[in-house]
Each structure stands twice: as structure tokens, then as C-alpha cells.
């Protein structure tokens, strides 16, 4: 580890420690609720970018994993202890990601995007059908003693974990392989890289994180039904946030998550019926104006500045 790396690691640890004290602030009710959604989107967008950043595969399956995790908790609460349910949700996410990955990572570009969107929708419809026809109810109750504070700490812990995993992957042979795959898959194959396996590992990692986030969030809803747990909006939000920030850097998505989550709070409060429309508009604007995200913009500006000073 170099000194700069050690310093960054220490800074990150300090930041997380500081954030952990947030629930102890006076009148932190609203602040806490906003922080929960920021933390949630941070984990989702960052883990999404771990896979999609280097490979350029746009996955719209976040909601499928998130909903799966939430439903694992809903189905098991009362009979199985909550921490164990989180682990089970992670395992379920890994199994689903493995199954989806093996069958679809051969698809390229737009086919993969459509498949992942379809997958989330398919699972939602199946769960709806099962509930309506077999259990005779539209949703399920998740009644626990878990407060928003605990959810916040859980998400903060997950965020620390996702950054740690991302950092370790970036330093590894696997991370290097993914960058090569993202550049040129033919060259990757010809230097001896197993691209299918590398992509699958990252897809599973991001699936596990999304499922565990769903499980962590389940108690917050108290009552979950497919349209909440498997909301396709969530998948799009995650993609937008990661892309606004920049999916090619580990901390890029965070730069998108914070303003977008705040903006979203505002939109959802003021224009509750137009959220999807505004989401679509945001998507278009990003693709046109900042394809490499805010971080990409900052980096190229810095690069220009550096060149300018060297010349002058």
C-alpha cells in the first residue's frame, strides 16, 4: 500500500466514523430520513457501477435484486432472526445474479439492457400472481422493532463495505481484467482473459449488495407489495445517479447520489404525479450533456488546466 492510499483509507474511515454519529444530533428526524435514502442510493449506485462502470453493460435489474431481498425478509420475519435474514437475502441475490449472468452476459449492448428490465418486470408479475392466487393477499407485513436509526447504521456499514470491495477489486487482477474488457473484448480474449467469468463475478457482487439493501430497507416499509419492492423506477434512478456522478470511478456515483437524492425528495413532495416524466427527462439530459458524468467533466477540466500551466 502506498502512502497516498493509506491516507485515503484513513480519511474514508474517519468520514464514516463521523457519519455514524449523525442520529445523535438533536431533532435529526428529517435529516435522518434523507440520510437513509442517500445511504441507500449510495450503496445501490456504487455497487451498480462496480459492474457497469468498467464493462459498460447497463443493468436495469437493480429492482429485481432489491425486491428479492425485501421479500426474503417479509417471508422469513417472525420465524428467522433478522441478521440471518440479511445473510439469506445476500445468498438469494447471489443465486439470482448467477442464474441471470450465466444466461445473459453473452448478450451485448441493448439486448442486455432490455433483458434486465424485462427480468425485473417478470419477477414482479410472478410475485403478484403468486400472492393473489396462492396466499390471497396483495402484500405482506414486515413488523419489527427496527428503527430508522438502525437502518441508517446498517446502510452506512454496507456503504463502507461496498467501497472496500470496490477498492480491493480495483487493485486486483480482476479489476485490471475488467478495464481491458471494457476497452476491447477481443484483445481481452487474446491476452488470455476469461471475460465471461470476470463479468459474472462483478454482476454477482452488485446483485448481492442490491438484495441486502432491499432486506435492510424492508422494515422501513412495514407493508410491502410487489409494486413497491420491485419498482422499476428504482432501477432507473440508480442508473441515473451513477451516470451523473461518473461510473468509471469508485467515488463517482456518490457525486451523483447526493444532489439527485435531494432533488428527488423535492420532486416527490411537489410533483408526486410527474415523477416518472421528470425521471425520463433527467435521463435524456445526462446522456446528451454529461456522458462521462460530473467526475469525468472535472477530470477533463483538471487535465486541461494541467496542460495549460505546463505550456505557460
Amino acid at each position: 500500500m502506498t502512502r497516498a492510499e493509506a491516507r485515503n483509507l484513513a480519511l474514508a474511515a474517519a468520514a464514516f466514523a463521523l457519519l455514524a454519529f449523525l442520529p445523535f444530533l438533536k431533532d435529526s428526524g428529517y435529516l435522518l430520513s434523507v440520510s437513509v435514502s442517500i445511504a441507500m442510493y449510495t450503496v445501490l449506485a456504487t455497487s451498480w457501477a462496480l459492474f457497469s462502470g468498467p464493462t459498460h453493460y447497463i443493468s436495469l435489474a437493480t429492482a429485481a435484486f432489491y425486491g428479492l431481498g425485501a421479500y426474503v425478509v417479509a417471508a422469513g420475519i417472525g420465524t428467522i432472526s433478522y441478521p440471518l435474514l440479511l445473510v439469506l437475502a445476500g445468498i438469494a441475490g447471489a443465486v439470482l445474479a448467477l442464474a441471470v449472468g450465466v444466461t445473459t452476459l453473452r448478450l451485448s449492448g441493448v439486448y442486455f439492457v432490455i433483458f434486465t428490465l424485462g427480468l425485473a418486470e417478470l419477477i414482479r408479475q410472478v410475485v403478484t400472481w403468486v400472492q393473489n392466487n396462492l396466499t390471497g393477499s396483495r402484500g405482506m407485513y414486515v413488523l419489527t422493532e427496527i428503527t430508522e436509526r438502525i437502518i441508517y447504521w446498517e446502510l452506512l456499514g454496507l456503504a463502507a463495505l461496498v467501497y472496500l470491495v470496490g477498492w480491493l477489486v480495483a487493485r486486483s487482477r480482476l479489476g485490471f481484467a475488467l478495464r481491458i474488457i471494457g476497452n476491447d473484448e477481443l484483445v481481452a480474449a487474446h491476452v488470455g482473459i476469461n471475460s465471461a467469468a470476470a463479468k459474472l463475478i462483478l454482476f454477482v457482487i452488485s446483485g448481492v449488495f442490491a438484495a441486502v439493501v432491499g432486506a435492510v430497507m424492508a422494515p422501513r416499509y412495514t407493508y410491502i407489495e410487489p409494486s413497491i419492492a420491485y419498482s422499476p423506477e428504482l432501477s432507473f434512478q440508480v442508473v441515473i445517479m451513477a451516470l451523473i456522478g461518473g461510473a468509471h470511478r469508485l467515488w463517482g456515483p456518490l457525486v451523483g447520489v447526493i444532489p439527485f437524492a435531494l432533488l428527488w425528495e423535492l420532486i416527490a413532495a411537489r410533483f408526486p404525479t410527474q415523477t416518472v416524466l421528470l425521471l425520463g427527462v433527467a435521463f435524456l439530459l445526462i446522456v446528451y450533456f454529461i456522458p462521462h458524468g460530473v467526475v469525468g467533466r472535472i477530470e477533463s477540466a483538471l487535465e486541461r488546466l494541467r496542460r495549460g500551466t505546463r505550456r505557460g
Binding site: 487482477r173 485490471f176 478495464r179 477481443l186 487474446h190 491476452v191 488470455g192
Partner: protein, 239 residues
Amino acid sequence: MLDIQSVAKRFGGLLAVDQLSFAVRENEVLGLIGPNGSGKTTVLNLISGAFKPTAGDIYLDDRLITDRPARHIARAGVGRTFQLVRVLPSLTVLENVMAGAVFGHKRLWGREARKYAERQLERVGMAHAIGMPTAALTYIDEKRVELARALASDPRVLLLDEWLAGLNPTELQTGIALIRSLREEGRTVVLVEHVMDAIRSLCDRCVVMSGGVKIAEGTPAETLADREVIRAYLGDDDA
């Protein structure tokens, strides 16, 4: 070392390679030559595993590699460059070359991989470009980086697809000397090439293709004097 047996490749209605057989001996430089569109690059793609042959078999040593994916063939010690140069644009020059050292059959990592990659860059005359982004490279330098990447995997067999094309006379002499030094250190080289001077001075043997079939095989002097070969290159009237 390499044994190509009755290999054929069909793309839809086009038979790009037809019933082609030849062998590459250990530690020789074999020239694969012929007019444009005769199927030379396709043959390299079949050997490296980029394409699967429609029929026939390819052996590396005594191992059948016909249906192996490209990554297995690369790890078995077959390195290549591409006719249309393929550098990795978002990686630095050094990282481009490290790709070969990290995942090829050497499988180095960290400082070891970096040092090994630096040595390959020095070898192809690109020591000055180690930290540069690839966007700053000229076409010729891109070719050098690509060769360094192939060398970084320490290949036993090196497939070069028109690597000497586009070099000026001085660069050509350096390039020829470089390829010769690869043979001297025990590597086997298959080169697809149009530069006749290079073929004459480098190749131990040549395989001449035309319209997907082999029309001649032998020393450069023999094959380039062959009536069939002259007709393939220049047409009937000149033969």
C-alpha cells in the same frame, strides 16, 4: 510446432479458406503471403482462436486447439498483433503492455509485471512513452505498443499481421532486425506480410495463398519465382 490440417472457413456464401494445410516448425519464421483477400488474416484468426474453422483441425505441439477459446490458446503461448491496430484507449501505454504480462502465460503481477512490461517497451524502442496515454501515439508507435503487449506474454508462437506495413525504410530495417532477434531467442514467428524485402530477408519458408487455397510453399526464392504465384499477384498477361 503448429500443424494446420485441411482447415476451411466459410462466412455465409464466401469460402474464405479452403482445404488449407501447412505446418510451422519450431523456431522458424514462416511468411504467409498472397494477394489481398486471399484469406491470410483469416488463417491467423483461426490459429489464435478468434474464429472457429468450419472444417479441419489445428494442433499446437500435439494438442488439438481447433475448438479452444482464444484465451486458452493465448495462455498456451500464442501471441498476436492485429492488422488494424488494437490498443486499449483508456489505458496508459505501460498498462497496455502489462495486459500481456498479467494474463498471458507468464501471469505476472504488481512490480514484476510492470518491470517486465517496461523491458518489452524498451525492446520495441518505446521506452520514452512508458507513462504516456495512448491517445498521444502515432500509428507506428501504436503498432510498437501492440507488439510489446504480445511480447509481454512471452509467446512461444507469435502471429504478426502486417506488422511491418507502413514503416519507412529506416524503421523497416529496425523492424526486421527486431523480428530476427525474436527468432534468435527461440520463438516461432508466423507473419502475414506484403513487404517483399522483409519476406526475402526474414522468412525461412513461405506459404502462398490465393483465393483461400495454398498455391505454393517453400523458400522465399522458390515461391516468389513460382509461375502460379506470379500469376496470382500480377494476373495472366504478365506470367
